[in-house]
């Protein structure tokens, strides 16, 4: 029986293994491979070494676009760390202490998570469109036309508005994960903390935060990775060219434009697109490792 049992697992694993290897693992290697070639997608592939990366960083037309996009990615990542994640944690805490109507709030705050980015952007158009948008109409009606704005057409505002929309749509998932981590903290600890008479601030900073942080590390890692790969929202809101003055341009959109769009110098080069992917991949790896080093400092022995 032991022998028979040893073979059977292959039948269970094989279908998943084959599909996963072809469509998830192989592409990662393939993209590295492609990045050292010049290739239009048809015909011969020309090996050019690191030339694609040189273009990316030093070409006078390409480099400013790329650095602007990376700057926006970094800006967004900082927003994730310093605004979105703390906001999620705060809401999770409010739900945890059962503020009035918390069940309703929990239900409603998570709802936009199931709505697609295309529709969220559509709602944004309803509210913020400079001509027919709801907000400008309201300001006109209130007799304050000076409050009106081009909103997403205004490079100073577009990024902030996008963050607001992302919070509205996506914060729910993080809130729920933080909330369930808070709920997992042992009842005994909470009881003894009450008996010892610690106040709410102490309880939050000395007990809840440190105890729930380790289990939050994985969600923070995931949101970092997704922050570096952001695409849908800025693409739909700002168009393929990344909004006014590239204020909504991100690495992934640059990749999309130069790979599936017109290409640099009107010449399609898939290898160049691949090199942008490799760059994103390396940055993700770097940031994730760095972040895990930082987060592991907070780990407690439970």
């Amino acid at each position: 029986m032991g022998n028979l049992k040893k073979k059977k697992h292959i039948l269970f694993i094989a279908p998943g293994f084959i599909l996963y290897t072809i469509f998830i693992i192989l592409p990662i290697f393939y993209v590295f491979y492609l990045s050292v070639f010049e290739w239009s997608g048809l015909g011969e592939m020309k090996f050019i070494g690191l030339e694609n990366f040189r273009t990316l960083f030093f070409n006078e037309r390409m480099a400013p676009t790329m650095f602007n996009a990376l700057k926006n990615n970094l800006k967004y990542l900082l927003c994730v760390w310093l605004i979105i994640t703390p906001f999620q944690y705060l809401i999770a805490y409010l739900l945890y202490i059962k503020i009035p109507a918390y069940n309703y709030i929990k239900f409603m705050i998570f709802m936009p998570y199931v709505i697609s980015s295309a529709i969220v952007s559509f709602f944004a158009t309803l509210l913020f469109d400079p001509n027919i948008g709801f907000l400008n109409k309201i300001f006109e009606w209130l007799g304050h036309p000076e409050w009106q704005s081009a909103w997403f057409g205004d490079p100073d505002r577009a990024f902030k508005l996008m963050i607001v929309l992302i919070i509205w749509q996506g914060a729910g998932s993080g809130i729920m994960i933080f909330y369930s981590n808070l709920m997992d903290i042992s009842r005994d600890i909470m009881d003894s903390c009450r008996i010892d008479g610690c106040n709410e601030w102490q309880r939050f900073f000395r007990i809840l935060l440190p105890l729930s942080l380790p289990s939050c590390a994985s969600i923070i890692t995931m949101s970092t990775i997704w922050a570096l790969a952001i695409f849908d929202m800025p693409f739909i809101l700002g168009g393929a060219n990344g909004g006014v003055n590239g204020c909504l341009d991100f690495a992934n959109m640059v990749f999309y434009r130069y790979t599936f769009g017109s290409g640099l110098n009107g010449k399609s080069n898939l290898g160049f697109g691949a090199s942008i992917c490799v760059l994103m991949f390396v940055i993700m790896l770097f940031v994730t490792v760095l972040q895990n080093k930082f987060l592991s400092k907070f780990e407690y022995d439970m």
């Binding site: 393939y30 709505i115 709602f123």
Partner: protein, 284 residues
């Protein structure tokens, strides 16, 4: 999981602060109701009514915009495409993930821990990085711009589900399977007759999470399904809103039609969706 508030007596200031915060959050959540409501009302206006009366009740109910997208455009086709993709992708992905996770966690073999780690890689690498190779691979095997190609890609994305299933299998005792084995049941009979039924709650939550992601997916269908005949709902909506002033009333109706299934799903299964997302389905 119901827990009473720890019984402490709150000072009036703390109580007030909580009430104020709750009020702020309630107003915040009302934006959701507001935007969906406006869209619903606007979708029921005639085009003329919509332009002059963007915010407000329709002067007369009209289903013109629905008629336009359903009959004049091939919106039903997009709807069908989305359904086919989501149903096949979700069923395939969940089933394969369950199979794989079962194979890894219930059998002893060399390279077990390697495989566990191997299947996790997909969670750490967003598809955006590998979309270009996917495009080329699908082109090579002739499945680019075809629904089956997209479904295969969805079915391959088993990392998350596989991880959750493995965690779940650790919590169910092997005794049941062992006794079935003594009764002469084969490995696959055990899997289908005993293991899958026990997994039902996890299957439901995983399927819900996967289905929502696939229904809402924008980037992959945009790249991998370029043909008009295989467009999904989200792509159709994108197409409408990129020419918003021209297709204003159409986009309202399109958004409502896309929203309805997902909102119903949310109202019915919200706790399962949250559980699936937080991994709560497999916690002790």
């Amino acid at each position: 999981m119901k827990r009473k508030q720890s019984g402490e007596i709150l000072s009036p200031t703390a109580k007030l602060a909580r009430a104020v915060l709750a009020a702020v959050l309630i107003v915040y959540t009302l934006t959701t109701v507001f935007v969906i409501g406006i869209t619903l009302l606007d979708s029921l206006k005639t085009k003329g009514d919509l332009v002059s009366n963007f915010v407000g009740l329709p002067r007369a109910l009209s289903f013109e915009s629905y008629r336009k997208i359903l009959i004049e455009d091939i919106f039903l086709k997009y709807f069908k495409n989305s359904i086919v993709l989501t149903v096949c992708g979700t069923a395939g992905c969940t089933f394969i993930a369950a199979l794989t996770a079962y194979g890894i966690s219930r059998y002893d073999f060399k390279g077990k821990s390697f495989l566990t780690a191997y299947f996790l890689v997909g969670m750490m690498v967003p598809v955006q990085v590998s979309v270009l190779p996917l495009f080329l691979i699908l082109k090579k095997i002739g499945l680019l711009n075809k629904l089956p190609g997209m479904i295969l890609v969805y079915m391959a994305g088993i990392s998350m589900a596989c991880f959750i299933f493995q965690k779940f299998f650790k919590t169910i005792p092997v005794a049941l399977e062992e006794s079935a084995r003594l009764d002469g049941a084969g490995d696959f009979t055990i899997f289908f007759r005993i293991v899958l039924p026990v997994c039902k709650p996890v299957i439901v939550t995983m399927a819900l999470i996967t289905a929502i992601q696939e229904w809402n997916d924008f980037y992959m269908p945009m790249v991998l399904l370029g043909n008009k005949n295989v467009k999904t709902l989200t792509l159709a909506i994108y197409q409408y809103i990129s020419q918003f002033t021209r297709y204003m009333s159409e986009s309202m109706a399109a958004v409502i039609i896309t929203l309805i299934p997902i909102i119903i799903l949310y109202f019915v299964f919200s706790s399962q969706i949250v559980e699936g997302l937080t991994g709560g389905a497999v916690k002790g």
